[in-house]
Symmetry: C2
Subunit: 202 residues, 2 copies
């Protein structure tokens, strides 16, 4: 952010400020509970000024949803993970993810907002740009031929991503309430379960 910002046009910088402000407010309060006035105030301009950059409140959300969706961080990270065996790869990918997402489960909130407040209506458009990358990861698993049980690649990918969703969601819902050790241990266990779950048995 620091390097880029200085080289952006003033209009572009304002646009980013609006997106950043709206992004953090949406994560914190959800979409409908966030007002255009809050966004304007946090972005440092008057209410009316927003409409020079976005046509409506929903247009702001759409821009955020497609530009800042965690998929854009998650998928490349997984794709960049290394490992000769399924074990290595799964663990590396799992930890790269959690390291990068920090322990900020609210990154998932963008997706949850989309489900709760928009009934997933923006998903199809986003999906088009992401599907190829997901299948790319699928081929990574294919390379571990014989190490993985015969599960259709799309389902395997769904389960792999699902592992993270379930980790984060149960963390949000149960964090601190269940006596379940540290977060790292929990993730390791989740990764282990997935790993043993997809591995071919000998």
């Amino acid at each position: 952010m620091s390097i880029e910002t200085t080289s952006l046009s003033k209009s572009e910088r304002t646009r980013r400020a609006i997106l950043e402000a709206a992004y953090s407010l949406f994560l914190d309060q959800g979409y409908h509970a966030t007002s255009m006035r809050q966004i304007a105030s946090k972005a440092g301009l008057a209410l009316g000024g927003i409409y020079n950059h976005f046509g409506s409140k929903e247009e702001i959300f759409t821009a955020i949803f497609t530009e800042k969706h965690p998929y854009h961080q998650i998928v490349p990270l997984i794709a960049a993970s290394e490992g000769e065996t399924v074990e290595d790869f799964t663990h590396n990918a799992a930890h790269a993810l959690v390291d990068a997402l920090g322990h900020h489960p609210d990154l998932l909130n963008l997706m949850l907002i989309e489900i709760v407040e928009f009934k997933g209506k923006h998903v199809p458009k986003l999906f088009d740009s992401i599907f190829p990358k997901i299948m790319e990861i699928g081929t990574r698993f294919n390379r571990f031929n014989g190490q993985v049980r015969p599960i259709p690649i799309p389902l395997l990918m769904r389960a792999f991503l699902g592992m993270f969703f379930s980790y984060y969601i149960t963390e949000i819902m149960l964090a601190g309430l269940m006596p379940s050790g540290t977060q790292e241990e929990s993730l390791d266990t989740f990764a282990d379960i997935f790993l043993n779950g997809v591995k071919r048995q000998f």
Copy 2:
């Protein structure tokens, strides 16, 4: 609903009507996008009438969250599932759940609304009433001594519930977008992965 309703006092019937109306509206639109006027209209009374039964909009949500939370359906179903082996038990529980929840993933929405729009602030109170039941299920897994790898019971329960969350969430996000076979096949695969994941290897 049919048998009970007739034996309830008029006031109690109105209360239920309000809860039912609000429930379906919340699932459909989320909390902040649903107005008290919509709830009143759908429940068949005037706006002011609601306040004879609930002190505020949030009080309605709190009542719904604690009374109609899917946990109340999920946990007993799992507890009632049978099976001599971990395999049988896991599969029976998984299918009992999906049969009962129908294929209505939006039942999960209550929980997602709580996360997105309330930041989980009602969870602790709900958790108190549910924790014992969850641990009860944990002891079920304990009975399968030697069949399951040594995973702390709370973590095992978290992973088990997480399996369903991830199934439903990925279904919402990817349903129809990914070429991944029927829903039943997908659930079976999810259950299989969990099962092989927690099973002790021989």
